[in-house]
């Protein structure tokens, strides 16, 4: 039997992609022509960067992006800590711990994030004396923590029980078992789904604009309202989000491939 050629000409793919773009642009121009939309892309760059007194200054959209980074970073650290703690508590012998974590997971996972953000901002925030930023971070961390805890748990229980038996028979404490044997292996396995959850966290931060935090989404809304450059602003915003999430997504695929080879 003759082997099929593995090599494919890249020109075919490039031609297909170019055709797709042409069709998309054509459809878009058709629809904007019908709306009588007047494209003004040249007005966008000043909302990304502008030159003030000979210095480059971030425009509204880039400022929003930086804020999105900030809130994503803080929430991610807290969500990881909360997720790990919840997973460990859920796998522990403590009856109360298991009940509490179960309750937390059910409540968080079965209500919309928007509702949680409002509830934390309007109800829990004032009770605890949290500011707007802290409330938003709390809502995002609670939400993502619940999903991350399930990822951690899945990674931990996916390990062969022989690993537990080996540490048990060597006399290792539960703490040492987790630190030296279980978590290092579990984290390797869950890195791909965990990175996926990071992407989801970054996307979900756009909802904090609801409580008037000036993240990328809110800045885009403000700029669009000020300038009536609705299409240009939202396209630019989408591209900015993509510029963060696509590289992460590619990294996930690379990780998945690498770990498939290792395990």
């Amino acid at each position: 039997m003759k082997r099929r050629a593995i090599f494919r000409s890249p020109w075919k793919d490039i031609a297909q992609f170019a055709l797709l773009i042409i069709v998309a642009v054509w459809l878009l121009s058709l629809s904007t022509a019908r709306l009588g939309y007047y494209w003004q892309w040249y007005r966008i760059p000043r909302y990304l960067f502008r030159v003030v007194d000979g210095r480059l200054v971030a425009g509204e959209l880039i400022e929003g992006l930086l804020f999105t980074f900030k809130i994503s970073g803080v929430s991610l650290v807290l969500a990881l800590a909360l997720g790990l703690a919840t997973a460990l508590l859920r796998l522990s012998d403590s009856f109360m711990g298991r009940i509490l974590t179960r309750l937390y997971l059910e409540v968080i996972r079965n209500t919309p994030l928007v509702v949680q953000i409002y509830l934390v901002y309007f109800v829990i925030g004032p009770i605890l004396g949290l500011g707007r930023f802290a409330s938003a971070v709390m809502a995002l961390s609670l939400f993502e923590g619940s999903y991350i805890s399930e990822i951690f748990r899945a990674g931990i229980v996916s390990l062969h029980k022989g690993q537990w038996e080996a540490t048990y028979s060597l006399g290792l404490s539960r703490f040492d078992t987790y630190r030296d044997v279980i978590l290092p292996q579990a984290i390797r396995r869950i890195l791909p789904p965990l990175t996926g959850e990071v992407i989801s966290l970054i996307k979900n931060t756009s909802l904090v604009s609801l409580v008037a935090l000036s993240d990328l989404a809110l800045q885009a809304r403000v700029v669009a309202a000020d300038t009536f450059l609705t299409f240009e602003v939202w396209f630019t915003t989408a591209v900015i989000y993509l510029a963060i999430t696509v590289p992460l997504s590619v990294a996930v695929h690379a990780l998945e491939k690498r770990f498939k080879v290792l395990t």
């Binding site: 038996e165 060597l170 006399g171 404490s173 292996q185």
Partner: protein, 249 residues
């Protein structure tokens, strides 16, 4: 009585274990194992030998009966259990090495964490043990880079690193390719001759004949017959033992 002069290192009294689902794995089992004895437990699969062995270090908790290891009762007391876990080494059928650690790190881990040795002292002891089991040239390899026989020898070194008073072997050669069985058995023979107390669940008759002091033949969770290897292998009294031996010989 002074603990170190305690004659029997393991005492098993009327131990029973039924798994959820109603399978009675071990039924009213009693035995005493002396220091420096090598005891081989044989029997058909499902006869409860592995379950019994796993009860000896607390991996399984018996429903009834008592187990005393080196004078320490194996009960609900955490300190007792920890003490027994430290003093009883175990080698598994599936090796259970830590795949993310090198051979040396596998053997070092418990010495550093449980025995609180520093890295240099642990490494020195590990190197000696790995030399003994013939893996000295692979200390920086990862378990996946070793053959099954090599992995099992590392697992033996890892258990020995805790300087246990008793070593339990749960079918240590059952998962190995035939040509690798002997390299593991040879290490176990050296260990047996060095005076280590060993309880071995195995089908390896040659090993049992050569180094064991005592053979327990089990079926249905109970002792069918027990005696020296000569008695059991050349002159089995029970019909069930005869039938089993004729099948595996």
């Amino acid at each position: 009585m002074n603990k170190t002069e305690y004659d029997y290192i393991i005492e098993i009294e009327n131990v029973s274990k039924t798994f959820t689902g109603g399978v009675e794995a071990v039924r009213d089992f009693s035995a005493k194992i002396r220091r420096q004895q090598v005891v081989v437990i044989m029997g058909p699969s499902g006869s409860g030998k592995s379950t019994l062995l796993r009860c000896l270090n607390g991996l399984e908790t018996p429903d009834n009966g008592a187990i005393v290891v080196d004078g320490i009762p194996l009960d609900d007391d955490k300190h007792h259990r920890l003490e027994i876990r430290k003093e009883v080494g175990m080698v598994f059928q599936s090796f259970n090495l830590f795949p993310h650690l090198t051979v040396l790190e596998n053997v070092n881990l418990a010495q550093m964490r449980v025995r609180k040795k520093d890295k240099a002292a642990a490494t020195q002891r590990s190197t000696e043990l790995l030399q003994m089991v013939g893996i000295a040239d692979k200390v920086n390899a990862y378990p996946a880079q070793l053959s099954g026989g090599q992995q099992q020898r590392v697992a033996i070194a890892r258990a020995l690193a805790m300087a246990p008073k008793v070593m339990l072997f749960d079918e240590p050669t059952s998962a190995l390719d035939p040509e690798m069985i002997n390299e593991v058995l040879d290490v176990m023979k050296v260990l047996a001759r060095s005076g280590m107390t060993m309880v071995v669940v195995t089908h390896e008759m040659g090993f049992a004949r050569e180094v064991s002091d005592w053979v327990i033949f089990m079926d249905g969770g109970q002792i069918v017959e027990t005696g020296t290897p000569e008695c059991i292998f050349t002159n089995p009294q029970e019909e069930r033992t005869q039938r089993f031996l004729s099948q595996i010989l």
